[in-house]
Amino acid sequence: MLRQTFTSEPFLYRLAADIPITGFPGAHYYPEYTTPPRIYGEEYDGGGVVALFVQEEPRVDGYEVVYLWLQQNQINWPSYNYALHRWNATTGTYLGRQDAGLSPYLSTLAQSRDGTLWLLYDVSSIYKARLDPAAGLVIDATPDYSLAALGLTGLQTFSVDVEQNLLLGSEAVSDSLGVYNLTTGALIREIKTPGMVSQIMPEDLGRCYVAVANSFTDRRVCLVNYATGELQSVFKVGDTFSPYSVQHAVTWDRKYRRFLVWNYAPIAIDGQNTSVVKGYFPQPQPVGITKPIPLRPPRKYRSTPILTRIYGDLGEPMPGARVTLSPDSGIATVTGFPGLTDSDGESVGTIYGADAGSLTLTASATV
C-alpha cells in the first residue's frame, strides 16, 4: 500500500434531458436510470474503463489535466457514449467532459515517457494519437507501426519508446515483459513479473512501472529496469484497483510523481457517480507488525531479546520505524531504548525477567 496524496472529485453524469437525441429519437434504453429516486440518463456500467492518462496543459492552478476515457451507457440511442472526463491534476477539481472521438473497440491506449499517446488497434497496428480540444482523440489514417509486419501478433499491453527505438509489450496471460526492437520486432530480452502484465508506465530512459494482475483483485506494480532486465521492486498501489478493467485504470504521473488510479464505487441512490481518481506516492506504507517473538528462552534474572517485524502489504520490510514493547506485568521490564527496524524491517528489543511467571507483551510502532 502506498501513501495516498490525491483524490479527485467525482465526475458528473448528465440528466436524461441533457443528452443529445440523435439517430432514433424513439429508442429508449435503460429505463431504470430515470426511475425515482434515480435521475441521471447515463451510467458507467463497470466494464468500460478504456484509459487513464495525463496531459500537460498549463492552467492557472496547475500544469496537468487527468483524463479518464470511459464507455458509458445512456438511455438514448445508440445506448452508449464515449466520454473523456477531465480533472485538474493539482486540485482534483472536475473540469467537465468531452466526447472521446474514438471508439474504444479493439483499442488500447498507452502513453510514452514524453507524454505522447499511442493507440494499439486490433493488436496489430500502433497509431500516434492526439488530443484535440474539440474532436477528442484523433489518429492518422495510417499506422505509425505495424506489429503484424514485425511478426508481433499477440501484444495486448504495450509502450513505445521512440527515442531508444524500443517497444515494450506483453502478450495476453503472460507473466513477462518483452523488450523488442521497434524497427525489426526482434525480442531483445524478456523480464519475468509476478503476474500478468496489464499496464506499462514509463518512468525514465531505462525503467518503467509495470502493473501486474492475477486471478485476484489485489493488484501489484513492479519497477522494472528494462535496460538491464532487472526487476527492482514490487509493491501494491492502494488497497485494490478497480475490479473492472484493471489493465486500464492506472497510470504513472511523471510530473507529480504519483500513480493515478481509478477507484470504482457503486453509484449513489440518485444514480450519481461516486467513483474518484486517487493518487499514490510510490512509497510503500507499513500495514502490520508481527507478534513479539522471544529469540531466547525467557528466564528469571536474564535478558531476553524480543523480535518484531514491520511489513507492507506484500510482506516487504519497512525500515526506520521505532518499536515500543509494553509488558502487562511487573515480572519483566523493558530495558534499553525502543529499537528501530533495520533494512529487513526487524527490530530487536530487550526485556529483563525480574520474576518467574507469565505476561503478555504488546508491541507498537511509530512510523
Binding site: 507473466d175 513477462s176 524478456e190 523480464i191 519475468k192 513479473t193 509476478p194 503476474g195 501486474v212 492475477n214 486471478s215 485476484f216 489485489d218 501489484r220 513492479c222 526487476l231 527492482q232 521492486s233 514490487v234 502490520g288 508481527t290 507478534k291 517473538i293 522471544p294 529469540l295 531466547r296 528462552p297 528466564r299 528469571k300 534474572y301 536474564r302 523480535l307 517485524r309 511489513y311 507492507g312 502489504d313 506484500l314 510482506g315 516487504e316 520490510p317 533494512s343 529487513d344 524491517g345 526487524e346 530487536v348 518467574a356
Partner: protein
C-alpha cells in the same frame, strides 16, 4: 538436543486473516526462508488460487506472485539465492518476481535434476537418507552417511550460520542437522524439535529455527536445549566445619544433553552454612557451581537446594 519452543504454534492466514486451504503439497520442500521477507511458500488461501506468499514468523502471509508449476527450490550456495528445477533444466528463481527467469542457466541432455543444493564444485541432495553428491545433478553417489540413528529423508534445506554450512531437516524424525559442504562433515550435533513436521528452516540472523507443523502452523524454536531435569547438588569434596567446599548441579535436556547458559538458584534448606552465590549459570556441560562454607564449630547435616525455572 531437544530444542526449546519460543513461540507458536501460529496458524497461517493470508491478507486480512483468510485461513489457508492448503500449503504447497504434502511437504514443505517448495518453501524457503528468505531473510527480509519471511517464509516464501506456495499457499492456497481458502476459496482462492494458489500463489507464492511471504509468511511472517507469526503466520501472517501476503501474496506476492503466482506460478503454475510448484517444485522444490534449490539452495544455491555458489551464486546466492535459489534455483528452480524443471526436469532437466535449472533456472534462477527471482524471489521478487516469484517466478523463474525465462532462460535456464544449466541444462543436461537427459535425466531429471534432483539436487537440493548447488555448491561451488558439485550438487548435493539429502532426500534418500544420506548426503549424496553429483557432478551433473542427475547421477548421485553417497558422500556422507549421517551419524547416529537414521534421521530419515532430508526434506527442507536452509542456510547455516556460515557460507559453507547448510541446515537439513528430517520431518519424520523431527531431527535437524548441519552439514559442512566444504569439509563434508556434520557439525554442531543433532537437534530435535521432538515432533514430526513438514519442514524446518534455520534463521541464521537470529539463531532460531522455524518449523512448519504437520497441521500447517508455524513454531519458532531456540537453538538451545529445552531443560528437562536438574540433578541434586553434590559436594565435590568432604564437607568440614570451617572449610569451604565446591558444590555443583547439572541441568540436562530430555535426551540428557547439557543445558548451557541457564540460571540456577541456590539455597540452604536445612542445617547451618552459607553459599557464596545466590545464583549461578550453567557452563557448556550443563554444570552450575557454587561454594558452600560450613561455619567453624558446626556439625550435623546441611541440605543445599538448587532450582531452575524453565
Amino acid at each position: 538436543m531437544a530444542l526449546e519452543l519460543l513461540a507458536g504454534p501460529h496458524p497461517i492466514t493470508t491478507d486480512g486473516g483468510t485461513p489457508i486451504a492448503s500449503f504447497s503439497n504434502s511437504s514443505g520442500m517448495e518453501a524457503a526462508y528468505i531473510q527480509g521477507l519471511g517464509l516464501f511458500a506456495n499457499i492456497t488461501p481458502a476459496g482462492e488460487t494458489a500463489e507464492y506468499c511471504a509468511v511472517q514468523l507469526d503466520g501472517t502471509a501476503h501474496r506476492r506472485g503466482w506460478r503454475n508449476a510448484i517444485v522444490p527450490l534449490v539452495l544455491n550456495l555458489r551464486d546466492g539465492g535459489f534455483a528452480w528445477p524443471n526436469v532437466n533444466q535449472l533456472y534462477t528463481f527471482d524471489v521478487l518476481a516469484a517466478t523463474a527467469e525465462p532462460t535456464p542457466f544449466y541444462t543436461v541432455p537427459s535425466g531429471i535434476l534432483t539436487m537440493q543444493v548447488i555448491c561451488a564444485d558439485r550438487y548435493l541432495r539429502f532426500s534418500l537418507g544420506s548426503v549424496q553428491t553429483s557432478v551433473d545433478g542427475v547421477t548421485f553417489t553417497t558422500e556422507h552417511v549421517w551419524s547416529g540413528s537414521a534421521p530419515g529423508v532430508g526434506n527442507t534445506v536452509s542456510r547455516g550460520g556460515a557460507p559453507n554450512i547448510v541446515c537439513v531437516s528430517f520431518p519424520s524424525s523431527g531431527q535437524i542437522r548441519f552439514y559442512d559442504v566444504l569439509r563434508k562433515v556434520e557439525v554442531g550435533g543433532v537437534r530435535y524439535t521432538g515432533e514430526a513436521n513438514r519442514g524446518i528452516w534455520y534463521v541464521p540472523k537470529h539463531d532460531v529455527f522455524l518449523e512448519l507443523t504437520t497441521d500447517v502452523k508455524l513454531k519458532i524454536f531456540a537453538n538451545a536445549v529445552r531443560p528437562a531435569s536438574l540433578a541434586n547438588p553434590a559436594a565435590l569434596a568432604t564437607v568440614q566445619a570451617g572449610r569451604a567446599v565446591q558444590v555443583r548441579t547439572r541441568l540436562l535436556g530430555a535426551q540428557s544433553e547439557p543445558c548451557a547458559d541457564e540460571r540456577v538458584n541456590w539455597s540452604i534448606t536445612a542445617g547451618s552454612g552459607s553459599l557464596a552465590e545466590a545464583q549461578s549459570t550453567t557452563d557448556a556441560s550443563g554444570y552450575a557451581y557454587n561454594t558452600l562454607v560450613a561455619p567453624v564449630g558446626s556439625s550435623g547435616n546441611v541440605t543445599v537446594q538448587a532450582t531452575a525455572s524453565f
